[in-house]
Amino acid sequence: MRATDLTLGILVLLGGIAIYVSAMGFEVIPGQSYGAGTMPRAIAFATIGVGLFIAGKALMAGDRSLGFELRDWVRSGRALFRAGTALVLIVVYIVAAPFVGFTPAALFVLLAGMLVLGTRPLPAIAISIVATIAIQQSFGRLLLVPLPRSDLFSFLW
């Protein structure tokens, strides 16, 4: 999904205006003209400048098309489903891990990911179990990262 040059320029320009407006309410250092808003405002000016440059260059080149060029994957339902699954699996981990613990959450993410990508079920199950234990042992035990624990798999810790 690629924006045309004119669209990109306009989006960048709008982004710059949004940053400038949002920075108007930031506090200054007492007794000074500078503060929390100085840097965002400088970024806003630069962003507006770049947006105008990209849009202006597109217009001067005769490119007046607005919108997005659709890539092949946008039209493929399966591809969209697989990419969506990758993002959903991260969200599932964030939501589930604090309640069910690292081990079952990681096992689910790995297994679902492999199955969606076309790994056969039995190898997917075996590899997911081994990978989960390897990651849990290296991060959780060796590097002492406090991964969320679960009572069911407490023997692993």
Binding site: M1, R2, A3, L8, V12, I19, F26, E27, V28, I29, Q32, S33, Y34, G35, A36, T38, M39, P40, A42, I43, A46, T47, V50, F53, I54, K57, W73, A79, L80, R82, A83, T85, A86, L87, I90, V91, Y93, I94, A97, P98, A106, V109, L110, G113, M114, V116, L117, T119, A124, I127, S128, A131, T132, I135, F139, L143, L144, V145, P146, L147
Partner: protein
């Protein structure tokens, strides 16, 4: 001479050598895991060093750090997951080399020239540290401002594609760096009341998201189009490095010198050094168009610069007690715990200790070659795994690595958001690397800009009043004006050939 023998006596003991070997293996392990970097290796070692004498304690940290910085290149090269922002400078080239079936050449160059840069930096550390540290101490906020702007400019102009899109990427990174409470007024910005965001956007989860998660999304989208890459186990890692050394001697020396000099500047460190060296390499290259497409030249120069800067960062740390980066900041803390006060007096009170540290530096960079070889051989196994199995495992590493930074799910959320941003950026031909540097250097840029503006009472002329600041400023402005001049020249040429 006697002091060197005494220092050697402190290092060449079975216990110290065993500590060096174990910490080297540890540093290699931590650095090679995506999401974990040299700073984390150092931080994890600190509690262990409490039980050691000063020399083995410092030896453990020095060795683990040197190994972890190199090992950060392994996931970067094989999986496009740079371990450090410095590795991100040349990850495009090293990953393209992997896709072309030459991961061993990329990792070999990274290993050998990292070691050479590290050894050069150590020799400078030994011979010229007091002089360099004095120069660095003369830098004020004006010089640091221009140095940061120079580093950011390099990131824009070395990135593939148009500089305008590189600038968009940089501005995304700089904007992300404004999030949080770490600003001159100490006021929360763009936190939306979320306390976790007060600390700002941590760059490791952001980096994992931009580089790795975007790659995972692409692999999920087109599961049959993931390129098949060669395995490093059957290839010679060192074979091509002699040829590289003969072909690019100037690049190796220039990278080492520049890296060491920049590393010696307090607060600058390996990140800026690698980026500036990569830009310098591209600028003076006979084949600049090959950069970003799997060309080893920039890797040679930036790799040498990377580890040269690591040694250079110890110059202000040891001589004046001013940390050059986050790692030396931790080390200074360890030295204080051991009853040693870093600074000029340490050369008078404990000279044998300082020279022992120098010897450890040399040993660490030499031992890096065989251990790095082993690590590359082991890591190469990753490439033989089909992507339908590898990608979910990488996704899980990304999740755990992002969590491990602050032991909080916020890191995973940041990773997810930046993963989507990175994917959309690459879909629109906006390079990712400048955003990373903007995120890392944004706070430093803001601090030095606002401090300078307050000092100069709003006068921009003050940014050019000091000689070094003026030199850096003019150099930066020249870099920015070159594309505009070229644009005008090309327009003039095309207008003159257009038939009326």
């Amino acid at each position: 001479m006697g002091i060197y023998l005494e220092a050697a006596g402190l290092v060449f003991q079975p216990y110290v050598l065993a500590v060096i070997f174990c910490s080297a293996a540890f540093g290699m392990f931590v650095g090679a895991i995506p999401g974990l970097a040299a700073t984390m290796a150092t931080a994890l070692l600190v509690p262990v060093t409490f039980f050691m004498d000063p020399v083995p304690a410092i030896a453990a940290i020095v060795t683990a750090t040197a190994m972890a910085i190199f090992a950060g290149d392994i996931p970067g090269t094989l999986l496009r997951m740079p371990g450090t922002p410095a590795s991100a400078a040349y990850v495009q080239d090293s990953y393209e080399m992997t896709k072309a079936g030459h991961p061993e050449a990329a990792l070999g160059a990274s290993l050998v020239f990292s070691a050479l840069g590290g050894i050069f930096g150590t020799l400078v550390l030994i011979t010229a540290s007091p002089v360099l540290a004095e120069v660095a101490l003369k830098f004020s906020s004006f010089e640091y401002f221009w140095l940061v702007v120079l580093g950011l400019s390099c990131a824009v102009f070395v990135s593939p594609g148009s500089p305008a899109r590189g600038l968009v990427s940089l501005l995304i990174g700089l904007f992300a760096a404004t999030i949080g409470i770490d600003n001159p007024a100490g006021a929360p910005r763009y936190t939306f009341g979320n306390v976790e965001l007060y600390a700002g956007i941590q760059f490791i989860p952001a980096m994992i998201g931009l580089f790795a998660v975007s790659e995972v999304i692409r692999a999920f989208l087109a599961r049959n189009e993931t390129p098949k890459v060669a395995n490093t186990r059957n290839a010679s890692i060192f074979r091509q490095q002699f040829k590289n050394l003969v072909t690019y001697p100037v690049q190796a020396i220039r990278g080492s010198v520049l890296g060491t000099a920049i590393g010696a500047l307090p607060g600058a460190g390996a990140d800026i050094a690698a980026w500036i060296s990569y830009a310098v390499s591209k600028k003076f290259s006979k084949t600049p168009k090959k950069f970003g497409t799997g060309h080893v030249e920039g890797l040679v120069e930036a790799g040498a610069s990377n580890n040269g800067a690591m040694s250079g960062a110890w110059i202000p740390a040891l001589v004046f007690g001013i940390p050059g980066d986050s790692i030396t900041a931790i080390v200074i803390g360890v030295l204080y715990v051991k009853g040693i006060n870093p600074g000029p007096t340490v050369f008078i009170n404990d000279p044998q200790l300082i020279y022992a540290v120098f010897i450890v530096f040399l040993l660490a960079n030499i031992i890096m070659l065989p251990l790095g070889w082993l690590a590359i051989k082991g890591a190469g196994t990753i490439l033989s795994i089909p992507s339908r199995i590898l990608m979910p495992i990488i996704l899980m590493f990304c999740i755990v690595g992002s969590f491990a930074i602050n032991n909080s799910p916020t890191g995973i959320i940041i990773m997810l958001v930046f993963g989507i941003i990175g994917f959309l950026m690459e879909e629109n031909d906006i390079p990712i690397a400048p955003a990373i540097l903007g995120l890392v250097l944004g706070p430093m840029l803001e601090q030095n800009f606002v401090t300078s503006m307050i000092k100069s009472q709003g006068s921009f002329l003050a940014f050019f009043e000091r000689p070094i600041a003026a030199g850096l400023g003019i150099f930066t402005l020249v870099i920015w004006s070159i594309p505009l001049v070229l644009l005008l020249v090309n327009r003039g040429k095309s207008a003159s050939v257009t038939p009326s």
